[in-house]
């Protein structure tokens, strides 16, 4: 079953094109990483899927419904981000108490256990929490809703290392016990890689690729060797990144394209996180070029 279907989705804010052309589909019960640089359009896309904002053109379907102003989508999905707000008249304990009236699958026991584990203060107001603690509370809320579509936008921003690790572990355990469709946006792919089944990479409002993690690992290869030799080898290939190591050595990352005869040069696998970084960098060089 397809939980999300997007066809040529566009969205602009005044003159800024947040989403240019987004087309992809997500099957149920998969954990997908939504990866992209700052300003790639990750947050806008998640807000459209959650029904918070309406797209300009294109077709968006979540559980086969158009999400904007749709009750079915609201009741069965949640977007956890740092803009989540709760009324100041409620304490954290109050929020957890009324949550089941909005989310039918609410797991009060899980919420209480996590709340206790992370040492949150039940009498506090949501708006008075520090960034990290607010993130922790939002994460607890998101997991406990057990929504069929659970989305996290940069969930670990502001959390310390230990809480991050705990968060990812809690997410995985919850997913194993109660599978659901999960979308996590992050610019820290290396941190969430082990949890993911698929990666959706977007850049400048467009989908670059939507592949399984294993396919992404096979996407590119690094080639290092004498300059002329590397240039000769890579002349017909799509170059993602190059770096001159010294007077004689050149290092080039190319898109893998069938078997290659690479005599005289050495090859190196490229991590998914590096692949995403190379593909989404504007110049083919890097920060070093600024200083040359």
């Amino acid at each position: 079953m397809k939980v999300i279907e997007c066809q040529h989705v566009k969205k602009s804010y005044r003159k800024i094109h947040a989403l240019e052309d987004i087309t992809f589909q997500i099957e149920d019960h998969k954990i997908t990483g939504l990866i992209g640089r700052n300003g790639a359009g990750k947050t806008t896309l998640l807000k459209i899927l959650a029904g918070f904002v309406n797209e300009d053109t294109g077709d968006v379907r979540v559980f086969s419904n158009h999400p904007f102003n749709n009750l079915c989508v609201s009741a069965n999905s949640i977007l956890v981000d740092n803009q989540m707000s709760f009324p100041d008249s409620l304490t954290l304990a109050d929020i957890l108490e009324i949550a089941p009236s909005f989310y039918s699958k609410w797991d009060a026991q899980l919420a209480a256990r996590l709340f206790h584990y992370f040492n949150l203060n039940p009498k506090q107001q949501h708006s008075k929490l520090s960034t990290g603690t607010r993130g922790t509370f939002n994460m607890i809320f998101g997991l406990a809703t057990r929504c069929e579509l659970t989305m996290f936008d940069e969930p670990t921003n502001g959390m310390d290392e230990a809480v991050r690790t705990d968060f990812y572990r809690a997410l995985l355990k919850e997913y194993i016990a109660h599978p659901r469709t999960i979308l996590i946006s992050s610019h820290h792919l290396a941190e969430i890689e082990h949890l993911l089944e698929d990666i959706l990479l977007i850049h400048k409002g467009k989908v670059v690729f939507h592949k399984s993690l294993e396919e992404v690992k096979e996407y590119a290869v690094g080639i290092q060797g004498p300059i002329e030799k590397v240039i000769e080898f890579t002349s017909q290939m799509e170059i993602l990144h190059t770096k001159q190591m010294n007077d004689q050595l050149l290092y080039t990352v190319v898109k893998k394209d069938g078997p290659m005869n690479l005599e005289g040069v050495s090859t190196k696998p490229i991590s998914p996180s590096d692949i995403c970084m190379y593909i989404t960098s504007d110049s083919k060089g890097g920060i070093d070029d600024v200083f040359n």
Binding site: K30, I31, Y168, R169, L172, K173, Y175, I176, A190, E193, H194, L195, L196, E197, L213, E214, K217, K268, P269, S271
Partner: protein
């Protein structure tokens, strides 16, 4: 064992190798049930689909077999199959790397054999 996400080896290969090691060490015996994809996911903190891929490649190599609705079991000849495979593939490849490195460092054949003997004694 820890699964290293940043390793050059895909995670599902590392999972398959871990199960193979458990079979070689007789911790999983013939016709015994091995961990499910969900148990492996929990144990190694990875996506269950990745764990399933690790199990699938072992089924393809006839090291594990599937019983419908019951899970994955160790094939009768699993241990022999793994040992045979590792001797012909893994060990040969490692020997090749050893010989290459020795050549790079101008270590003679005799010196290399001496080195291996010494390592054997120290073990």
């Amino acid at each position: 064992m820890n699964i290293a996400a940043d390793s050059t080896k895909p995670i599902y290969i590392q999972i398959a190798e871990w199960i193979e090691n458990e079979i070689i060490a007789d911790r999983f015996k013939s016709d015994e049930k091995v961990h499910s994809q969900y148990q492996l996911a929990d144990l190694f903190n990875i996506n269950p689909a990745t764990a399933a891929k690790g199990l699938t490649i072992l089924v393809d190599q006839e090291i594990l077999y599937k019983k419908r609705g019951l899970g994955m079991f160790v094939a009768i000849k699993a241990k022999a199959t793994i040992i045979k495979k590792r001797r012909s593939e893994t060990l040969t490849r490692m020997a090749m790397e050893l010989v290459l490195e020795a050549r790079r460092l101008s270590v003679s054949e005799d010196e290399l054999i001496q080195l291996i003997k010494r390592c054997e004694e120290e073990q």
